[in-house]
Amino acid sequence: MRGKPALVLRVPSETRFLVLIRDVAERMAESAGFDETTAGKVALAVDEATTNVIEHAYHGASGKLVEVRIEDRGPELSIDVIDTGAMVDPRSLPRVDLTRYASERRKGGLGVHLMEKIMDSVTFRRTARRNVCRLVKRKAARG
C-alpha cells in the first residue's frame, strides 16, 4: 500500500515552537488512524526528539532550523527529525537507571528513554552533514 505524501515542517530551533510541532504530530498520528492516547504518545516522542536537537545538536542556539517530516506509509507512521548541528549519538549516553537517577542528580537522558518506550523503532544516522532521527510507529502494534 502506498503511503500518503509527507508533511514537512521547518521551524526555528526555539523551544517555543515545540507545542506547534507536538500539535501537528498529534493530528497527523490521529489522521493516520492511531487512537487519541497513542497519538498523544507519538507527539510526545516527536517533542522529545526535537528538544534533543535544540539542546544538544544546536546547543540551545536559536536561528537554526529543525525539519520534521511526517509520513503515513500505510502500515506505519514515520517521522524524521532533521538538523544540521553537531553530531550527537544518543546511543553513547548511559542507559537510564531510574533507581540511581535521582541520587546522581541527573536531569537529562529521560527523553531518549521515553522515545524508545513509545515508538517501535528509534534510529539515528548522519547523512550529508545532516542528523536524522527516525521515529517509527507501526499501526499493527498500537499502545
Binding site: G40, E48, L98, S103, K107, L114
Partner: protein
C-alpha cells in the same frame, strides 16, 4: 506567557502546587522555579495537583527527579494527585508510578501526609 502557570498554596506544613498548562523544555523553568522556591521556603512536604496539567515531557520529569533527593533527605516527599490519562500514561511508561506516590485526589494526597505515610 500562558503556556504554564504554577499557583502555590499552603495547607498546614504542606505546599500545594497547581501547574496549569503543559510542561516541556520551553516551560519547565517555570515549574522548576516554583519547586526551588518551595525548597527555599523550607517546605518539603509537597503535593503537585496535576488536574490542570495537559501533558508533561521528560524535562518536567527531570525537574522532579532533580529535586526529590533533597526533599526526601529533609524528611519530606513529593506526591502527585489528579493526573489525567495522558500524564498518568507518561508516568507509567517511565516507571515513575513506582518511585512516587500518586493519588486520585488532592485530599487523599494531603491525608497521606497528615497520617504520616512514608515515601516509596
Amino acid at each position: 506567557m500562558g503556556d504554564l502557570v504554577v499557583e502555590a498554596r499552603d495547607f498546614e506544613d504542606i505546599r500545594l502546587l497547581y501547574p496549569r498548562g503543559f510542561i516541556n523544555a520551553h516551560t519547565v523553568r517555570v515549574f522548576e522555579g516554583e519547586l526551588q522556591r518551595t525548597l527555599k521556603d523550607g517546605r518539603f512536604k509537597i503535593v503537585v495537583n496535576c488536574s490542570g496539567l495537559s501533558y508533561i515531557a521528560s524535562a518536567g520529569l527531570g525537574a522532579i527527579m532533580g529535586s526529590i533527593e533533597e526533599i526526601r533527605q529533609n524528611g519530606g516527599d513529593l506526591r502527585l494527585s489528579s493526573l489525567n490519562e495522558t500524564v498518568r500514561n507518561i508516568f507509567e511508561i517511565l516507571g515513575f508510578n513506582h518511585l512516587y506516590r500518586i493519588f486520585p485526589t488532592e485530599s487523599e494526597a494531603i491525608e497521606s501526609f497528615l497520617s504520616g505515610g512514608a515515601s516509596l
